[in-house]
């Protein structure tokens, strides 16, 4: 599998994409790496504080690049998903 990847991609590009990059601010710490286990590449994001992992494919990433100002605000709301009360009373 890895041999096939090396043939299909310029070596430098593959090496760079497979090296994890850590992005850290005072609010968050994530590790980014290109994941090639699927049929196409995707970005693997690991929350270094909890080990939570998420993936973004090229179309999702392209969408992010086109996001209008404030479009991520509802996802940044801690109650949106991560710290949601289980016993929501509606």
């Amino acid at each position: 599998m890895s041999e096939r990847r090396e043939r299909s991609l310029p070596l430098g590009e593959a090496a760079a994409g497979d090296t994890p990059v850590e992005l850290v601010s005072e609010f968050a710490a994530v590790s980014l790496v290109v994941d090639r286990d699927g049929n196409g590449p995707r970005l693997r994001i690991e929350d270094l504080k909890t080990g939570q992992v998420g993936f973004l494919d090229p179309l999702e990433l392209e969408t992010l690049a086109w996001l209008p100002e404030g479009a991520l605000h509802r996802f940044l709301d801690p109650s949106f998903h991560r710290w949601r009360e289980e016993r929501e009373r509606g």
Binding site: S25, E26, E69, H73, R74, D77, P78, E88
Partner: protein, 442 residues
């Protein structure tokens, strides 16, 4: 000094501030300090930071207005915001790092999350708070007005009052001159800040910045061993002038001396042939004739009241923390795209300023000795009489004096009294009087 109460009327201020002397208790009385915060620091325009400190969208830096913790952020659209670094929930500091890049800030205490424009985006487990109406009123505190001039960002806690340009008045010229020295017209304030703490009242620092009387004495040691010509600029024979720019802004204008000496880049203690890249860029940007004038006149030495001192190649920002505790922040000015000149300006600045600076350590020693002395019971006054008999108007109508005269100090105190006498009020302060070309004051 005996603690006083803050004067309630003009007659009571007469007992503390006269045109040419001031009472020592103004430097030692905590009640006066508290009133200064309300009437000067939380009302007028105060310098906060430079646009180049947040160059990219979502950049932020932690700043201050006196004791107030401020976040200066640039949002995704490029607009700059001044927010109070205080969670609206339980008052925790939201940002810890000195700088960073983030579209949102998450408080470490309970996870409340704010956009970098100050809006509350949410808190964990939101059903505990009922409806969402409350969220709208729980954004980060804001400095009411934000404006910038030539890239210098100021904030005012007063909802209304003079515009920034009205506030700067005669001092706008200093900013114009400073950016004209940069071939691109832009400054790059990216060298980081030293923080130099003084056990002294903030006004000691403000008054010293444009005191042309002290360099020959306080800095004699370094002028003699470095064979510097700076001492002569402030000598008895100097043609330099001290100037009252109005609004508490003051200047030591060294241009008359530099023009007499007529050496391009002499103001920076060098010659044009030592900085060929810079000279070439400046000539291309401004034309050879104007470039030569700019290189003769050099950079301004102006104290912008109450807290920004443009000292030729450095910026100083004065931060009062208590009646006898002040931090002076200082950095080297860098011009966009001029590495050759910038390196020299940085090295000269490091040598001169900060806790170990060959110049500033001695100034700070003086502030601290003054602060000890001003507690003495008698005499109770500090004297600002120097040059009262030779004050005059320049062609622009500004009051000037000789290089060593105390024109700036009298101007600072006159403005101080106006601000303090205006009381706590509603924040509306008249713009400073701007002299007109014929010498009258509007």
């Amino acid at each position: 000094m005996t603690p006083t109460t803050v004067p309630a009327d003009s007659a009571a201020w007469d007992a503390l501030i006269e045109p040419d002397r001031v009472h020592g208790s103004l430097y030692t009385d905590p009640a006066i300090f508290d009133a200064e915060m309300e009437r000067i620091w939380y009302r007028t325009w105060v310098y906060v930071g430079h646009e180049s400190e947040v160059p990219q969208p979502n950049d932020y830096v932690v700043k201050s207005i006196g004791p107030q913790p401020i976040i200066m952020s640039r949002d995704k659209q490029g607009e700059i915001h001044l927010l109070l670094n205080r969670c609206t929930h339980r008052a925790n500091l939201v940002c810890d790092a000195a700088k960073g890049n983030s579209s949102a800030f998450r408080c470490p205490y309970h996870g409340w999350t704010f956009s970098n424009t100050g809006k509350l985006l949410g808190y964990p487990f939101n059903s505990g708070y009922g409806g969402t109406e409350e969220k709208r009123n729980l954004g980060l505190g804001r400095v009411a007005r934000v404006a910038s001039y030539q890239g210098f960002v100021f904030g005012s806690f007063a909802e209304e009052g003079p515009t920034l340009e009205e506030h700067l008045g005669g001092a706008t010229d200093a900013f114009d001159r400073l950016v004209e020295l940069s071939p691109t017209g832009k400054l790059d304030i990216s060298a980081g800040w030293l923080q130099h703490e003084a056990k002294a009242n903030w006004k000691m620092l403000v008054e010293n910045e444009t005191d042309g009387y002290h360099p020959q004495f306080v800095h004699a040691s370094i002028f003699s061993v470095a064979k510097s010509g700076i001492g002569d600029l402030y000598g008895e024979k100097s043609t330099a002038v001290s100037r009252d720019l109005g609004g508490g802004h003051t200047e030591n204008d060294l241009r008359p001396e530099f023009r007499r000496i007529d050496e391009p880049m002499g103001w920076f203690g060098t010659t044009a042939d030592r900085l060929p890249e810079y000279v070439e860029h400046l000539q291309a940007a401004r034309g050879p004739e104007r470039a030569r004038e700019i290189m003769i006149d050099g950079a301004p030495h102006v104290m912008v009241y109450p807290n920004l001192f443009i000292a030729e190649i450095q910026l100083f920002v004065i931060q009062p923390l208590a009646v006898d505790r002040t931090v002076q922040h200082v950095t080297a000015i860098q011009y966009e795209g001029e590495p050759q000149l910038n390196r020299r300006m940085l090295q000269q600045t490091i040598g001169s300023v900060g806790p170990a600076g060959l110049l500033l350590a001695d100034d700070t020693e003086m502030y601290e000795r003054n602060q000890r002395g001003v507690h003495a019971r008698t005499p109770e006054w500090l004297v600002l009489k120097r040059g009262t008999h030779r004050e005059r108007r320049d062609g622009d109508g500004f009051t000037i004096g000789d290089a060593t005269d105390e024109v700036p100090q009298r101007a600072i105190w006159r403005h101080y009294r106006e601000l303090m006498e205006a009381g706590d009020g509603d924040g509306a302060v008249a713009p400073p009087a701007v002299p007109t070309a014929n010498g009258s004051v509007r």
